[in-house]
Symmetry: C2
Subunit: 190 residues, 2 copies
């Protein structure tokens, strides 16, 4: 998506090989017009997949997932983080290890909101190592829902997340794919 690539070129900050700061339009300050356009683009891409729910991971995926859900006119589900394991029979639960933040947390989903009849599109801001996305997949599989795909705003294609997901048969759609990054330098695919 050219709109996002241009915004990243203009306002994104490549700190080093691994860290891309997009604080000024995606993470901390949000450009609502850009976010709306990105949601429409994702919705357009998945429009023939019979998507019944959009799911995302708390909290930086909420904005793009909401704009996608608005465009698809389907409910959106926030997979909630909780700090420690509190067993609850009304929830699907899975533990996520975040290498970037060096923490563990639990991701939860109420059994009420997603079932075997659903086709779920997962939306998140970033795909890098794929930890959050694979945890979301684990949760959604517990519900026996069909996974329509994963859409992310920015993919760091040089990290293993993309491969990990497509090797499980998941379609990954990224609005911007970064193939190489270093201080003040970003290279996109294509």
């Amino acid at each position: 998506m050219e709109l996002l690539k241009n915004k990243i070129k203009q306002d994104g900050i490549a700190v080093n090989e691994h860290i891309l700061k997009v604080d000024s339009f995606i993470n901390h300050q949000i450009d609502p017009v850009l976010m709306q356009e990105m949601g429409k683009d994702i919705a357009e891409h998945f429009k023939n997949r019979n998507v019944t729910k959009v799911a995302t991971i708390e909290s930086s995926g909420i904005a793009p997932a909401l704009m996608t859900a608005v465009a698809l006119k389907v409910p959106m589900i926030i997979l909630k983080k909780q700090p420690s394991k509190i067993l609850n029979q009304d929830l699907y639960q899975t533990v996520v290890t975040s290498y970037t933040k060096e923490t563990n947390y639990e991701l939860t989903l109420s059994k009420k909101y997603i079932g075997a009849e659903d086709h779920v599109l997962i939306v998140d801001d970033f795909l890098a190592n794929g930890e959050a996305a694979t945890a979301a997949l684990r949760l959604l599989r517990m519900s026996h829902a069909t996974i329509a795909g994963l859409a992310v705003l920015i993919e760091k294609s040089f990290q293993p997340g993309h491969e990990k997901l497509i090797s499980q048969g998941i379609e990954v759609y990224a609005l911007a794919q970064i193939t190489e990054m270093s201080e003040n330098h970003i290279r996109f695919k294509d």
Copy 2:
């Protein structure tokens, strides 16, 4: 706002005097059409206040704040939570004590994104004790921005948040005001 009051009557669950569950359309599962209508309503109410930024508190305020920012066509700022105090000279920082969750966290705002020239509308999902809203106010005052007001989806008018805020001269706009609550019983203002 009748649309929200009717939704609360239909799908909200009053557990006791203090706990209202709106998991099925606001907190865990989100109804994007309702969220969009609520954002438009808030934007309409504050349309003559010269709002330049919408601010919210991570993470349950993100959805209503984003829909308000879309309607007002202004940037949205997520005041970020961090678990403990890490001093950073690029941030405004304040500690929040949550009585409901019995935890402390720090709320932060990058100095880059809000300044003295801004008119900021704070948007959140709930107003009860007003802890989060007053913390947001403290942060925004550090930036010397003008506070355009506070908009919330649901106000528990029998808790002290509303009074606390209006006594500081802040306009509070709530889409649904609950004056009384007990198990399976909710009374609205008007």
